[in-house]
Amino acid sequence: MFSSTKFNFIIPIISVLLGLAAGAIIMLIFGYNPILGYQALWNGVFDSPFFMSETVNRITPYILTGLAIAFAFRTGLFNIGAEGQVLVGWVAAVWVGTAVDAPAFIHLPLALLAAAAAGALWAFVPGILKAKLGVHEVIVSIMMNYIALHVTNYLIRFVLTDNQETTEPVKQSASLTNDFLIGLTGSRLHLGFIVALLMVLVMWIILERTKLGYELKAVGYNQHASNYAGMKVGRNIVVSMLISGLFAGLAGAMQGLGSFGNAFTNTAFSNLGFDGIAVALLGGNNPFGVVLSASLFGFLKVGSLNMSSAGVPNEIIEIVIALIILFVASGFIIRWALLQLKKGEKK
């Protein structure tokens, strides 16, 4: 028999393999060569330090939005508002990054803090509405996404700039970029991955080692029993949303202070927050699992840009990703198939 932790590990791996296999079949059906296609995907990342660095830059915000969603899931909440929290975090970081003058050891942390606070504030609204009035957090946080999109556009156009679409770049003292890394890779590889990995540890410690994490999980699993044990259920819901929003806000800072170094108006969502749902799901809502699944997502997204060199449209990777998620979501079928296989072996 497989233990459930083993399953948590095996199912995502099988899902990824199945997704890639299905992608290969689709390529075959449409007359492309899957071997060349996947080779191009691989080379698209590992052929040059530049693209490897780009991949890391891509992975970093995925880790953070993945953590945001996973943290909420683990405490019984569905923070589908990570998208909006990323946007407000992004703009808050750039705002502090452009408007404040301070030495780097103050300026950068301050900008990060602003992003975290903005994300947390955005998540506070659905949290408090759920705690006080029982409004479902999914509805409120989806609406908060649109508010974030338009509010940040307004701020960029009329507050941060004078009717421009793009802000000034953040000052060097608030930037995550680092001359040494740029020199090494020729890319915009920035220090954000350190922040992201630090947050992985933070999430793990909160959930697995602290009184707070114990309460948050208890409330997520069973509000009645938590109430019976004297916990403040409403307060815990709000705290959980705050922490989740904080992670998502930092994902925005990675973009604003690192990859892009500025903020710009958007006509549509960045999808970082929505992809975070898939990252969390594939990572089994475990902080370390999130690192692995975010890496896979970053790898697929960056590598796919090179697939056109093999004559394969890179949209095929979107299909592969969708299929992987489908397989993870139908994990119980894989579980069942594995158990059947086991049984067959015995006989």
Partner: protein, 510 residues
């Protein structure tokens, strides 16, 4: 040769890692009430699921009316005239009685369901067996006892000759149980046979003809009820001697621990459920609250423990006013609470046993220091309590969900008693448990009393109330309407008191 309607011969059913049924033989005669007795997890349900076609036996054979049959799904069982009334009713609340009964085998008129015919047929069937069911009533409007009759009617409508009832009395009031017994006897007179799954010995003695006992998956044997007694049945079931009335010294009550004055509590619909209630409990006594479910017991306990707002009145614990304290402050001031619904309130089922052991104390030293939990301390405590309270679990890391009901309950009781509360509230502490676990829990409650604690016991089981309490308070319609000495009363008197003063009317409603 005997005339058996159902024969299950040498049935064996194995699941990965466990033999649920091993060589069990059950033979039911035509026209008898046959009891299937066993502890929780003994394999009763597995055996009945084999008979009902939900599982296939690995070995053994099933005969119906002497003919060997293979039952590979419930539809086959239905066709063979086997019907089952599950413990949890499978009824649609918003449908009428008749709609529920004909569901799946509706009489048709062209493409339309012939509802008139359905109502007529159901009504005829009900009248024939004296079930007094109104075919046009909505399920949500009728009592639990009535719903059970609808389930019985459902099997009869589908032509059942053998009706299996799984723990049918667990949800019924004493009056309803009496009525059920009459119904069962009517069914027998009409030539039906009944298999009664239960672990209540008294009911077996009262209504059954024969009884098959299984223990840990093994068939122990079949006995004639007329030739046995409850003690023998219990030891057959558990495999050792069982004492029914837990031995105890007379109580020596001391100072008042809990004093409730003029307490009024509303339920979530803002209906007064506890009405101007007064109750004192003293150190060293067990006060049992007897009453039919729904007379305010749940709201009373929730109000004392702070889970529910009080609209009027005062609750004093050791001369300290706890009326408007939050839950945690009340818990800390010396209240232990074994909740009625252990899955909803008592445990976080997805937490490990160890994490559940500290559900009330996780934030205190030595389990938490500066916001960080010490899992070493937590697990040390958990291991100690698992040992002391005989919680059978593979490990302290096992999820609480994986434990049997009895072991979950022991974990809760261990947790609450270990905090050494001055007042221990036990609501339905033995619900759904087998005699072995019940005996254990009763002993612990009495032990607490002997150590000078005040114990408040709420139970719908009259046996339990009579056996364990030093003083019985009868609760009806939100009030304590009588306080009696368990030595000077009996089930009849309590039953009457529990029904309030309007006994006839209560009966007529059903």
């Amino acid at each position: 040769m005997e005339n058996y309607v159902i024969e299950m011969l040498n049935i064996r059913k194995e699941f990965p890692g466990i033999v649920a049924n091993d060589n069990i033989t059950l033979q039911v005669k035509k026209g008898e009430i046959h009891a299937l007795l066993g502890e929780n997890g003994a394999g009763k349900s597995t055996l009945m699921n084999v008979l009902f076609g939900l599982y296939q036996p690995d070995k053994g054979e099933i005969r119906v009316d002497g003919k060997k049959v293979e039952i590979n799904d419930p539809n086959v069982a239905n066709k063979l005239g086997i019907g089952m009334v599950h413990q949890h009713f499978m009824l649609i609340d918003t449908f009428t009685v008749a709609q529920n009964i004909v569901l799946g085998s509706e009489p048709k008129k062209g493409l339309k369901i012939d509802m008139k015919k359905a109502v007529r047929e159901v009504q005829e069937l009900s009248d024939r067996y004296g079930l007094q069911v109104d075919a046009t009533a909505k399920i949500s409007d009728i009592s639990v006892g009535m719903q059970q009759r609808v389930e019985i009617l459902k099997t009869l409508y589908r032509g059942a000759n053998v009706v299996i009832l799984d723990e049918p009395t667990a949800v019924l009031t004493p009056q309803e149980i009496k009525e059920l017994i009459v119904i069962l006897q009517t069914l027998i007179k009409e030539g039906k046979s009944i298999i009664l799954i239960t672990h209540k010995l008294k009911e077996i003695m009262e209504v059954c003809d024969r009884c098959t006992v299984i223990r840990k998956g093994q068939g122990i044997g079949t006995v004639e009820i007329s030739e046995t007694n409850p003690n023998e049945l219990a030891s057959l079931m558990v495999g050792r001697e069982i004492r029914f009335s837990t031995e105890k010294q007379p109580a020596a009550p001391k100072e008042t621990i809990l004093a409730i004055e003029g307490l009024t509590v509303q339920d979530s619909r803002h209906v007064d459920m506890v009405k101007d209630l007064n109750l004192d409990i003293r150190a060293g006594e067990i006060v049992g609250i007897a009453g039919v479910d729904g007379n305010g017991q749940t709201e009373l306990i929730e109000a004392i423990t702070g889970l529910r707002k009080k609209s009027a009145g005062k609750v004093m614990l050791k001369n300290q006013d706890i009326t408007s304290m939050p839950v945690r402050a009340i818990t800390e001031s010396g209240v232990g609470h074994i909740p009625q619904d252990r899955h909803k309130l008592g445990l976080v089922l997805d937490f490990s046993v160890g994490e559940n052991i500290v559900l009330q104390t996780y934030y205190q030293k030595p389990y938490a220091k500066g916001g960080i939990l010490s899992f070493k301390r937590i697990y040390d405590k958990a291991k100690a309590l698992i040992e002391e309270y005989d919680v059978r679990t593979p490990s302290h890391l096992t999820k609480a969900r994986a434990l049997s009901g009895g072991n979950q309950q022991k974990a809760i009781i261990g947790r609450e008693i270990d905090r050494n509360p001055d007042l221990l509230i036990a609501a339905q502490p033995t619900r759904g448990l087998d005699v072995g676990a019940i005996e254990f829990i009763h002993k612990r409650l009495i032990e607490q009393r002997d150590q000078g604690k005040a114990v408040l016991l709420v139970s719908f089981e009259l046996d339990e109330i009579l056996n364990v309490s030093d003083r019985i308070a009868v609760m009806f319609d939100g009030k304590i309407i009588a306080t009696v000495n368990p030595k000077e009363t009996n089930e009849q008197e309590l039953g009457l008191l529990m029904a309030g003063s309007k006994i006839e009317k209560e009966g007529a409603q059903n």
